[in-house]
Every structure is written in structure tokens, then in C-alpha cells.
Amino acid sequence: MSEVDKPLDDKLSELYQEHKQKTHVPRYLKHQVMVTAKRANKKQTKVWQSTTWLSAFATIAVLAILVNMSFIRKGTVDRFDELATNPPKRAFAINIVHRLESEAPILTAKEQREQKLEKIYQDYQRRKLAYTVHRQETAELVAVSDGWSLKTCDEQVVQISPKLVSLFVDWERIESDIALGDQVDIAFDEQGRITKISRITELAHC
């Protein structure tokens, strides 16, 4: 822009600003713009609120899932810890034992005898339930040299072998303090077998 042109350019600017000053913006334009802005704002608020609620719901759902998963995991870990520290005291029944023949314990002669005796005793114990007292007889111990000899009130002699006496003693079927000449009660079962011999403290009543 040369110095010659400057007054003209200034005049042009002056005319432009003069024209601008005379220009009036229609008032209705602002009203329409502001109404539109408020409508858009309301719509946006609704969308925002919907989004907010949706986000809140989704967040709660995710948190619930995470908490639930955490509890499940914690419960599992706790259960493992509990099992590790306090194993269950439940006894498991062994129904079948698998064992090689060679694993069977080797018994000595004494042990074999004890085992056999134990078996006899167990058999007796199984049967003894049947040995209920059926009848009793009073008798007197008259001999103890070769087993016991018991003389009943009807003058019969009941002979008990030494082995049976020994077994009766073991089984506590014979009172230990019975002495020769003592009055005793002999208990018989239904089959007529002696089940018990006990001393009578009262006077003999045969």
C-alpha cells in the first residue's frame, strides 16, 4: 500500500465501518438460536442421564460379578487352606485289602498257637450267647486231683476234665477261691453243658 493510496484505503475502511454501524441484526434470530440451544441441551441431558444410568447399572453389575468371583475364589482358597491345615478326621473303611502272599506276616510257632487259641476263644464267644443258663444244680467239690469232681445233691458225680477247668478259669467261669469241700452251684445250658460254677456261701442245703 503506497502513501498515495493510504487516504483512499482509510476512506474505504471508514465507509465499511459506517455501513456496519448502520446494520441492525434482527432480534428474532437470537430467540430462535437460544430456543434451539435449550432444546439441544435438554436432549443432550436426557441422553447423558440415560448414559449415566446405563453406565451406573453396568458398573454395579460388573462390581457384583467381581465381588462374587472374589468370594468364590476366597472360599476355595480358604477351603484348600483348611484342608491343608486340618485334614478331615473321617475314617475310611477298608473293604478289601489287596496283599501279596509274600507280604503275609510270618508267624512263629508260639504266635501260631496263640492265634489258634484266640480263634477257639472267638468261636466260643460267638457260641456262648447260646449258652444261657437253663438249670442249676447244687453240688460239692469232692476231688481236684484229675480235673474236678462235683457230687450233686442227687448223689451224681459230675467230672470236669482238667483242660475244661483250666479253660473255665481262663474264662472266669469258675470262681478262683473255690476250694475242696465247698458247696457250689453248677449252671447248665439247654444242651446240658456247664456254663458256670460259682461257690455258695450259705450252708449246704442238699
Binding site: 459506517e18 434470530l29 440451544a37
Partner: protein, 186 residues
Amino acid sequence: MSIALTLKGLFSSQQTNEWLMQKYVISSDSDALSKLYENCQKDLYHFLLVSANAELAAEISQRTWLRVIEKKHLYQTDGRFIAWLFTLGRNQLIDEYRRSSKWCDADMDIDTLVSDKELVPESSSDKLVSMLQELPFAQREAFSLQQEGFGLQEISTITHSPIETVKSRLRYARQSLRKALENSYE
């Protein structure tokens, strides 16, 4: 961003258009938009009135503000708000020209667009308006934008034209207007 904006507003003695627009973008505050409108509407409307009649200028300015409301999220904070507003307004005007039969060929160079008696103010007896009517559209808008206070870079951005082209248009516009002004004095 909202806190920073609030603090800036508290310590700033004057609420700039950029601050108001940022506030409107963040909070959709109607008061901020109202103040922006008060600050910028006359400039926009006058710019449009130079290139169109009053009815079209009003229509385009209204559409421009509606675009501001719709496209507020696209506002870039690195430039002046009024430059963005004029860009939107100018685009709306060009679109309107293209829609109408005034500018049939969409690929036609804007430099070839001449004033149309139906588009410029008819009843104005203003001397400058009469002179502007004689200028091509591109020169007229370049001159008008410069008078509205925009620099070469901003005019280049608003009109989507290279700076050299803008300079050229301004030079031709001034030559024509000076000549017309001299003739009017004779």
C-alpha cells in the same frame, strides 16, 4: 479442564470468546452461548450481508449458529472462536449458492463468481455496498474479512485459499474500490 477453565475465568478480567466457547462446549451453558452471540453476531451478520441480501444473511447466520450448537465438540481451542464462526458461516453461504441456481457448476472457481443483483442488498444506497457489488465474490469476501479484522493467515483458513491467492484478491479488490471511490468523487 473444567477446573482450569473456571480458575482462568475467575482470574481473567475479561471473558474472551474462546473462554465462553470452551465453557459452552463443556457445560452447554446457555448464558455462555448468549454472550458469544452478543459478541459475534453483528460481525457475522454484516459479513454475510455484504455478500447476500438481508433475508439470506439472516437465514445463513441462523444456520451458522445452529451449526455451532451441533458441532461444538469440533471446536479447536488453538484458534480464535470468531475465525471458526466465520468459517462455518462462509461454508453455509457457499453451500447455499451451490444449492441455488446462482452457482450451477460446483467445480467452478470462486474467483469467477460475480455479484448477483438478487443476492446483494437491493435497497441500500450505501456507496460502499454499491462499489462492492461490482467486485467478484472472492475479492469481496477477502476485502470484507480484512475489514472485520482478520489477518492474512485467518482469511486463508476461512476461505480455504493459499495466502498468496488471498493477497492477490485483496490487491485487486482495493484497486477496484479505490478506482470506484475516485470516480464517485469526480
